[in-house]
Amino acid sequence: MRPLIVGIGGAGGRIVTEFLINQDVGFSIFPLGEYLAVWDIKGVWLDSANQDAQNQTFFGRLEDGMCPGYIIAHDIISPDSGIRDYIMKTYGYDLKAQGYDRRAEYLKAIFEIFEKDNLAKHRAAMEFNGEENPLLSYVWRRGIRPYTTIYSAHKSEHIGEKNTILSDIFGRGLPPFSNISSIFGLSRGKVDKSIPKKNEKLCDSLLFIASLGGGTGTGFINPLSRYVRCEERSFPIFALGVLTERGLDARRALEGQRDLAAAIALNDLLAKRPGEGIDALVLMDNEILTKMYMGNYTNINKAIFQAMEPLINPMNYPDSYLQDDSVALRRSILEKVEFPPILVPCYFQKVHNEHGEAELVMGALENMLYPCDPKRADKALVFVKGLVDRRKIANSIQKCTCINAEEVLIYRKLSDSRKEEILILLRNPYGGSPGAHTIEGTFEWRTHQVISAAINYIDENSANILEFQGYTEFTKDAIRKYLYGEYGLRDNLTRCLENLEIGASPLFSHSLEIFFKKEREKVELTASSEMSLEALRAEIKNIVKNILDDEKINRK
């Protein structure tokens, strides 16, 4: 597996830093050579707050050709942009807001506007050379796609600006070298030579890493994966979500507010069919990590990297070079499930000793990074490093989890030290046990806490949610319907709670959209009052024909 690691938001950026630490040495004043992350993996940091980017030195601006690079999504929007003005006046959302301080619905709404508001789409298309969703298009085409196997070297990827001669010559359309010094490697020591050349290894999947606390990370994963899906239905996309700890966090945000964001994100990510969004969500609980590492976030980030390293480690056993091919892994993860599954990681490491497989498995299952009962899992993906016997590992897993033998997939990797490591990804370790939400340490118990806190927050903070500065009446009404309306988020979360209580699965079965109802009402009204069914059918046919005949769309 060779994923492109995309850290989204502040926490995502800090975690991805651990993945991208330079393995090479060099002079900081006169840098030479290519940037080398562990296992030569690639990664980017996607954020929405320029101040966060300015307060760090690890990432450089991707647009300036830096590596590792960060990309600020709304950099593509100019301060006096027409579309920004339109959305501000119509909805009260600012496309250039610096961060989304624990408001998961903020980004969700912005991206829905670009998906649903035809006028906004039209205006955006006029302003950004035919791009109807400039923010996501910019992030995907400039920041992510060039590193993946789906990148086509001959397509021009620029939006909102014309290609420069330099970028045509040097960058195959990206990134635009802003000045001569960056071409010769004199720019801040981080010239982006990691943009793959013809024979270089491209990434075969995406791994989004974000905290589910309601900032940029929470807001971006779902729309971004949906946007990617418009282009690539089967490209493996995985997400690693870190649930924030209980109580007040470092930014003094209420637990309920963050849990509401997590609930929105979980609903959006898990209620889509495979091929419509992410393929799997690896879930970690910061509550566990905070206790383990005494609240030291640097160590927590290191621990997250360490836990995920067996997944990206390419040192497969000689008999199974292709075992962890991303597409195959995606297939295995999605087998026999209707919706993208939750994967709970369990990680353990120890020094090698003879017949230590059982100890390794037991250790991992005692170190779950999200509370759950392993016996409830329906599948286990086991990434194990070291000299271990496959059968012994499988037997130990079966003994501890009751998972069928054919549902235990073992990916053995070689270790470069005497250390043995194991990462067990337990698939959907919940359901089938009514009342499990009352038992401490179960998946249902922790998730019940999160959903309950989210519902409480919705109930007790309507003014805080709806009266956010700048929202127009139209937006307030849409959010009110989205949160409190019939079949709204509150209802959805209540059903989720019921599912948790009776041991049903999946937790979420349909995703919600903030501006959905308006559109549906509009269509229904048109159909009933102005046209007969036949006329409407003819009209739709006509629209579809026009779309298919459109030269621009065909070109795309």
Partner: protein
Amino acid sequence: MRGEISLFFIAFLLLGLALVMHKIHFYKLYSNISCLIDFKFSRKELIKVYRRPQGSNFCSLAIVSWSLLFICIASLFFLTPEIFGFGFLNLVFIASNYLNLWIFSLLVLISTALIYHNISMMYSLYHIPNIYKVIIFYIVPPLLIISLFISLYLGTVYPSINYLYWSVSYIFMLIGEILLLLPIYTGAGDMLR
């Protein structure tokens, strides 16, 4: 003189020890993995799996350092005929050329190219902690350059002999060699424990 000859062999013994440890480590690893899988594979395949990128800067400096090390050893022991009874300066036609030291270095580089190339390739088979990389990048080349300059100085003042300078040069060379071999000693040593 005998003491200096044994010092020469110590330098090569250190190198040999690293090579032996490396070979035993991979032999053991190969046999361990063979027991765990029902699949026949060659050692080359194992090495292919084990290879990892170490960084272009580090690799370049490692090759430079290794070539410097061999030039240092040759300059210390074979520039003058003092230790082994024969030396580069015996070859009057070349030694009297004003590019003699360049020719000498070039000859050493060519004759040891295979060795230092293979040794530096061995680095790609170990996880080298960043601290070792920093040491090899920043400390080893200056040590070896100092050692080389002292040796060249001793070569130019020959037949005059300065044992103190020679010893200093040798110590610098030996420290450089040990630091260069450290990733292999620790990597293979850890696995062999």
